[in-house]
């Protein structure tokens, strides 16, 4: 079996090496990637979409169909983690956690171990107990609003600077994970419960697809934002700019909530009970 794997790896590696000389040279202006559509994007994207950032224009407008399925892939990854990692059953091993008061060390006693119930030095703590740390909490409270504001800025400013739905969503999701780390998982779950998180992820995908369907209903092609001009009350070029913002918001919602859900499942082994 291992020999078979070696043969396969060598065979495909050899094929790849054999195909490498056929690639165009680095930065070759006559390469296929630089001859077909790239010059059109570079020359016309500002006039077509009123978006100075060519990357955003290409990502969310010219190849918006591709980005729609990228968002769907992220949503599907979140769902796959729900089915793979979520543990709905009762806990297999009943263990108890104790804190040693003088040192603050946490002990986990598995079932059948000697329980230090009678000692005054040990304090029984429940499965959601987390060490209280004033410094980390205060730093978290101080920094979090600015991180979240910056995330919204990255989403909204993707037209003009590097950024957009994916990047802003990741920053916002990281801010929520930082909240879970600096406070505890229970209060994060209070703000964004597991079910609501997954529903918002679905709503994010729905916003993207819904924008496309709306264009279809208004007489344009699927994801042709110029059709929204009448609805938004702007000219077709500006409508494409606004349409990009609409789908970016959908992407940001999906990415944020999928990131937070993944953290929930991975940090707690799918039980959502132990605050990290």
């Amino acid at each position: 079996m291992r020999r078979l794997g070696l043969i396969t790896a060598v065979l495909f590696g050899g094929l790849l090496a054999y195909a490498t000389p056929d690639f165009p040279d680095w930065g070759d202006p006559r390469s296929p990637a630089s001859t077909h559509v790239s010059p059109y994007y570079i020359q016309n994207s500002l006039a077509d979409t009123a978006v100075p950032n060519i990357v955003t224009a290409v990502l969310a407008d010219y190849r918006g169909y591709d980005t729609m399925f990228e968002t769907t892939v992220i949503f599907a990854a979140g769902l796959a983690c729900l089915f793979l990692l979520r543990n709905f059953g009762p806990r297999a091993v009943e263990s108890r956690l104790y804190r040693h008061r003088p040192t603050g060390i946490t002990l986990r006693i598995e079932q059948g171990g000697d329980l230090p119930e009678n000692s005054a030095e040990f304090e029984r703590i429940d499965s959601q107990w987390v060490p209280y740390d004033l410094i980390i909490r205060c730093a978290g409270r101080l920094v979090l609003p600015f991180i979240q504001l910056f995330a919204l800025y990255v989403v909204a400013h993707g037209h003009h600077s590097p950024g957009g739905g994916f990047q802003g969503g990741v920053i916002f999701g990281a801010a929520l994970i930082f909240y879970a780390l600096s406070h505890d998982l229970r209060s994060t779950l209070g703000h964004l419960p597991e079910a609501r998180s997954l529903i918002v992820a679905a709503v994010g995908v729905l916003i993207y697809v819904g924008t496309g369907v709306l264009c279809l209903l208004l007489g344009g092609a699927f994801l042709d934002y110029a059709a929204l001009a009448g609805l938004l009350g702007v000219d077709p070029v500006m409508a494409r700019s606004h349409g990009i913002l609409m789908v970016e918001i959908g992407v940001a919602l999906a990415v944020t909530t999928v990131m937070v859900s993944l953290y929930y499942y991975l940090a707690t082994a799918g039980r959502l009970d132990e605050g990290l």
Partner: protein, 114 residues
Amino acid sequence: MMAVLTTLLLTGGLIFFLGGAVGILRFPDFYARLHPAGKLDTMGLLLTLGAMALYTAAGGRLGDWLTAIKILLIVALVFITSPTATHAIVDAGVRAGLSPWMREDEGTEHDLAA
């Protein structure tokens, strides 16, 4: 003038970074190694980013000043978060039961530098 000041600040920042790197490699145990990691890297970052902000602001236009202010905002963020992160790591070490290195421990299994 501005170039001289920027060079001085950058050099100072790099000296702090060098000290931090040497400290992480040479100090005896977990807690002592976090000491240069937390303090010297923060100071080195403050000096190098300050030099960048000065260099940018020397352009004198409004856009240059805005960029300099953004760099200073990064400095403020790092000044809050970097010591907090070091504190969190040290706290996790204490809670996990790792005892600090002492002089009389030399040569025993606690001596992580060996």
